[in-house]
Amino acid sequence: MARRRGERVTRWLVGGPPGAFLLLFFLLPSLIMIVASFRYPGEFGGLAPLFPAGPGEEGGLTTENYRVFFSDWIYFQIFLKSFGVAAFTTLVCLLMAYPIALLIARSPHQRRDLMVLLVVLPFASNFLVRVYAWMIILGPFDLLFTRSAVILGLVYVHLPFMVLPLYTNLEKHDPVLLDAAQDLGATGWSRFWRVTFPLSLPGIFSGSALVFIPVLGVFAIPEILGGIHDWLVGNMIKEAFLGVRDWPFGSMLSLMLTVCVLAVAGAAAWLAARGLQRA
């Protein structure tokens, strides 16, 4: 009994602080944001009071933000474009990261750490500096302020987030499985498609999530490399908070984005589970 209680205390001591941190700085702000999306903007930014001081004063709760969102095509279009850009970026990252991850995972042990270091090395220099560097590179090619420039920048920044989970997964594969497949008659392609690829699906899913979700929220890269004509959801949210200072509208956009991401993630998880069951 005493031992059990000791274990329980340890569990709270270990799990408590980070749990409290998440509660305080993630769950609570999320709730504040939900409420904020139903409020009026303050006169000079911020929020109008929840309880108006007198008649004629603006305040209280409203569904106006949602009405605007659902009544104008433009928001739907920007959302759709953002999801398209994010999906395309994820796909390009996957196609580029897979060979890199495979190469690292099949290298001799002592060389792997160095290669992983090289993959994460770009993080050592400032993110904005790296994106501005692309401006200088792309300028002479007349590619600046195009959709291609945005995607190039997004892929460049997010590639390591795809490489690392894929490598972690591929590195764990037992090489004897490939020997067995070959021994039983599988050629190179069959060995990849029937053994390596299906076993790497968890790595593909986590890598894709790590690229797709952040890309949906970016605003700096489209702003720097895409110019003002190629806005994504991230730019819209940033502009709502910092540009027109309409906090409730920004909160609403942010919330809608979260809902969409959860819906996509849920659909992907469902499809993955069904795929595994069938396989």
Binding site: D174, L177, D179, A180, Q182, D183, L184, A186, T187, R194
Partner: protein, 362 residues
């Protein structure tokens, strides 16, 4: 008996180290052939070369008379059962077993039928939709076996396939392996470091050591007539007494064993007077009896029981002879009389027939 697999003067070096050194052997069609040896003796390297995962530096490997050099593993009609089973974790039992047929592009209905048959053969019909992680060690072993056999390879290589099983299951699987091999008539090349397993399963055994074959013969010959010190020591238990040949006749040898004096032994090839070596004699060939018992045996020595090991069916006695030599003797506990025959410290005599044991050079 026609040879299906022929290995001719195969050598494989890793740097200066010859893992397989000028090995030649041939395996007959339908044979259960075992490569037996301690770890690092080259048996696994040899197996990998037969499967095609490694190439010999010299010599050739022929299957059905055709040289296999340059043929990729996936093109060889040879399948392997790996030590770790190497089942595909993302496939069900049925999908694992179907894999070789799928690779051979057999029609779907044929695959279905043959997978069903194969799973029935290994008693796993009800597990067809399970995944490998849901199976016990013995069941995984059976799946690996079914997968290796389903496309009827001309040769099935088994790399210590029973190594990971506990003793009881091991014995069951051994019996099943023998039955399956006989029923299907597929040639097995089995690799193991376990000598009881090799003796129990094989038609023929090649005992390997340091990249070479020390002796190749039927199990009873390997056990009964080890050709050298290594084989005698590696296969089963063996008493080894340093000896010198005093006299050699076609009827037998007279050996001089330091401390024991004259010992009679069966004739040995090339044993001349003056040659030195060891007398190898198995514990079960050594009789142990009370000092006053009348034993009509030529080689008879007095001693004291130093230790004994009771294992149920038999007891092994370690006897210190008066001369200082030490001999192990086996006594069956089924013999009438007391459960235990001798205690530590008891005076006893040990004896063996003049034609028991073998003189080994070197």
């Amino acid at each position: 008996m026609t040879a299906i697999l022929e290995i001719r003067n195969v050598t494989r070096r890793f740097g200066d180290f010859a893992a397989v050194n000028d090995v030649s052997l041939s395996v007959a069609s339908g044979e259960f052939f075992t490569l037996l040896g301690p770890s690092g003796c080259g048996k696994t390297t040899l197996l990998r070369m037969i499967a095609g995962f490694d190439d010999p530096d010299a010599g050739e490997i022929l299957l059905g008379g055709k040289d296999l050099t340059g043929t990729a593993p996936e093109r060889r009609p040879i399948h392997t059962v790996f030590q770790s089973y190497a089942l595909f974790p993302h496939m069900t039992v049925a999908q694992n077993v179907a894999f070789p047929l799928k690779m051979a592009k057999r029609p779907a209905e044929e695959i279905d039928r043959r997978v069903r048959e194969a799973l029935e053969l290994v008693h796993l019909a009800e597990k067809r939709t399970s995944f490998p992680h849901e199976l016990s060690g013995g069941q995984k072993q059976r799946v690996a076996l079914a997968r290796g056999l389903i496309n009827r390879p001309r040769l099935l290589l088994l790399d210590e396939p029973l190594g990971a099983l506990d003793a009881k299951l091991r014995e069951e699987m051994q019996i099943e392996l023998i039955a399956m091999q006989r029923e299907l008539g597929i040639t097995f090349v089995f690799v193991t470091h376990s000598q009881p397993e090799a003796l129990a399963l094989s038609h023929r055994i090649a005992v390997m050591n340091a990249g070479r074959i020390e002796q190749m013969d039927e199990p009873s010959k390997i056990y009964g007539f080890p050709r050298n010190r290594f084989v005698a020591d590696f296969i089963g238990h063996c008493n080894m007494l340093e000896a010198r040949v005093a006299d050699a006749t076609p009827q037998g040898l007279r050996l001089e064993v330091p401390g024991l004096g004259a010992v009679a032994a069966p004739p040995a090839d090339g044993a001349r007077a003056g040659a030195s070596g060891v007398l190898a004699i198995r514990p079960e060939q050594v009789r142990i009896a009370a000092p006053d018992a009348a034993l009509d045996l030529q080689n008879r020595f007095g001693g004291k029981v130093r230790d004994f090991l009771y294992v149920g069916d038999v007891t092994t006695y370690v006897v210190d002879l008066e001369s200082g030599a030490r001999v192990e003797a086996l006594l069956a506990n089924s013999a009438p009389g007391r459960a235990k025959f001798f205690e530590v410290g008891d005076a006893v005599q040990v004896a063996w027939r003049h034609d028991a044991g073998a003189f080994l050079h070197g």
